[in-house]
Symmetry: C2
Subunit: 313 residues, 2 copies
Amino acid sequence: MITWDAIEAAEHRIKPFIHTTPVLTSAFLDELSGVQLFFKCENFQKTGSFKVRGATNSVLQLSADEKQRGVATHSSGNHGQALAWAAREAGVQAWIVMPSNAPQVKKNAVQAYGATVVECEPTLQARENTLQKVQDETGAIFIPPYNALRTIEGQATCAKELHEQIPGLDYLLVPVGGGGILSGSALTTQYLSPKTIVMGCEPENADDACRSLKQGEIVPSLNPDTIADGLKTSLGEITFAYIKELVADILLCSEKDIKRAMQLIWERMKIIVEPSSAVALACLLQHKEHFRGKLVGLILTGGNVDLSTLAFE
Amino acid sequence: MITWDAIEAAEHRIKPFIHTTPVLTSAFLDELSGVQLFFKCENFQKTGSFKVRGATNSVLQLSADEKQRGVATHSSGNHGQALAWAAREAGVQAWIVMPSNAPQVKKNAVQAYGATVVECEPTLQARENTLQKVQDETGAIFIPPYNALRTIEGQATCAKELHEQIPGLDYLLVPVGGGGILSGSALTTQYLSPKTIVMGCEPENADDACRSLKQGEIVPSLNPDTIADGLKTSLGEITFAYIKELVADILLCSEKDIKRAMQLIWERMKIIVEPSSAVALACLLQHKEHFRGKLVGLILTGGNVDLSTLAFE
């Protein structure tokens, strides 16, 4: 079990590099839901998502020799940007394997942080093979996106900030993809605010965490079709173990719910969040009677949306 | 001249109703500009813009008899929403004259705050005539959008917060339409941080404030064509007098600059601002050599954008 000391140590380690993100509220959404909502804004985090917490916590603990060799991962999304940024902060080389169909804007972001983008076919097999090849050639250390203790300890610092900013939450709702932020949040909550009930939030179209909890074993997500692209991944052994033990329930929502929740957040809170972030509010609104009058924290996990198609030009 | 006491009294009056808005920074935009930027986020203000400061300050000072009669204005934008909201907070009836071609989402917002929308032809003449008719019929008190002391005193509280949050600014850049937030900001700055140089920011396509300052008299804006719809109005006698005396310069920017600045703010700061808000950053980026290494405050005036055309559905 990850100890409280390990979470505190992670926070101490990464604090000089990352933001303590703000908690926002919305009178409109409180009225709409009948719930007191507290949004932890990781969309304002460095690189635009919470992923930088785990990536930074991992990179900073490499030995001098490992730092010399560099780091690598495969990612079509936020973990790639986060690792590229964390590596640059630590003066470490980084290789990010990205599927050839990843949006150019994401490849540009990774390159802008000084990392090397290695393209591959858009299949999990190709991603893993290409990463292995990169590691064989460069000796780079693999930094996992969620299923690793250092990653989870880093993600756990987000809920630590939230509980310290808003003590006494009745519930904490957290999106679940690979389970890094959910298991980290549940761990922290157990230590710091044990009365707070932690729930995972998931699209119906990518409900592998829900099914895994029901069946008592990891049910992988097979080509899930959801706008919440950050939540397509399946749980890992480590994250599943923590979630099984510490998470009360997994809530589900439809694609329509996600889009509506995202629009509400953009329009009413004036902040940009990605679809995965909106899943927590979408689930809450689907089950609002359950939470009526309660204090509920929601983690807005990131804000990296491709805006290039909007009519800015 | 509006006194410091009047500004303090306005702040004291409206504080229980409005937000003290946060000041955000962006490492990316600092690096891009070579300037230390401090964004005062009035997009997070109640009703989504600074306009609620002046409207609330005006409504709260009505006599019991005037409150009984209600309030009215004409507006296709933020002042209408702000007045509707401020009136509801004070338990006062409100009539908002809106052009028939105003977006439905704006009419809905005004109605959601409990005000009565009175539609008219989309001309200034029709707006003024219709407002007069509403006043004749209801006895409602006209609350002006910018050219009135109580309005300016209310808008002046925004820069007061900013100077208290970030002391020692070298410059303060403020968008200018009718001049309410610019003249209010300049007044506050003169009292609270007299070394800070205040500049107005304006689209080239609606450069009436710039031309007015040059000619020493108000040059009205004639059907200006700009995406910054909040800055189409011309200066008033009162705002012009303050701007002439207290504002160092008016900077200009192109439509392309505005769109680019807006996209930068959305993408990099993860916040929704309307085009008028982006004008300050657009002007700064056009003149960045002038500000190099300085501490510059920018007022993000509002965040009311019609998102209904985005692909949320």
